[in-house]
Assembly symmetry: C3
Homo-oligomer: 127 residues x 3
């Protein structure tokens, strides 16, 4: 069984994306999030943007009864490899113990930001 | 339990890739698809290529009793950020409601095409 | 239920990454692995690096009672499209039959290597 949650709205128009989708009530797939707010990057530097994107993901998880500690896997795309150390420090502040498995690569992004992050979490009442 | 489906054939030779693999009879992982047909790109523009790659994924899903509406997550790699608006319009024609969670980034690809797309779907008889 | 395994250590410091994380005792998410050993690339050419990174993933799987044949999905990032044929040959030596679904794209990486690879496997005692 699939359940979707919260269509993404951009510039007032619904996009063909759900913020998150649930598989069989056990796994929550969170769409790639970018630190945009009201059509603008949420901060200029990678530290601010990393905290912002993780806050967005935390908010999505909370709406489904999860927290960051339920994430099993993240994928992170950075636009500039030189941002990695500052990104990693900001990220570490949110994932102190039992961190998710993670892949981090360099890609250009659609939005004018320095980071995109997606996540897979385990829903709390799953077996 | 893992089950694989349909080895990928390229230029007449089996590749070390399955078109799709099933985990425990519940999740179907569809390999990254590119809009190639008979060794050539299936169309030149992003609109044609997007419809072509989604048709390929639909066909794979149908063979496993699924449809596009069972997809919970897609990852899309575009080679050119300027193709995003046309890609998004073509994609939206196939995912009108309950769209999957989605991540879209810019990467170069192996095949001479403008898009690669992978998908995770929930199998119909899963709990 | 989420279970994490083996925090990643780099340059002697624990990183905010687990080598692998398990969802509900059924799926094992293996973090993106790069062929680094003692702070240096494990070989210079793509063939050596591909064998090295697959060996790393095999070792992680073995610690969880799995083997390469339990992998349902891999994602591979190469830094140079010209490396694809040699990568594919080396990869094929490890995935002869029932190969995982796979996506392979071109990205720059954080570590000074030519390949990063992540995997999703089905745990052996899952339903």
């Amino acid at each position: 069984m699939k359940t979707t949650h919260d269509p993404v709205i951009r510039a007032g128009a619904p996009q063909p994306i759900s913020t998150a989708a649930t598989a069989q009530g056990t796994l929550l797939f969170v769409a790639g999030q970018v630190p945009m707010r009201a059509g603008k990057p949420n901060g200029e530097d990678i530290t601010t943007q990393t905290h912002a994107v993780i806050d967005m993901i935390r908010n999505i998880l909370v709406r489904h009864g999860c927290s960051l500690s339920d994430i099993v896997k993240t994928t992170i795309w950075l636009t500039d490899a030189r941002d990695y150390p500052a990104f990693n420090s900001a990220y570490a502040a949110h994932f102190c113990t039992d961190a998710p498995a993670r892949s981090t690569v360099i890609s250009q992004l659609i939005a004018p930001v320095k980071i995109e992050m997606e996540a897979i979490a385990v829903l709390p009442n799953s077996p």
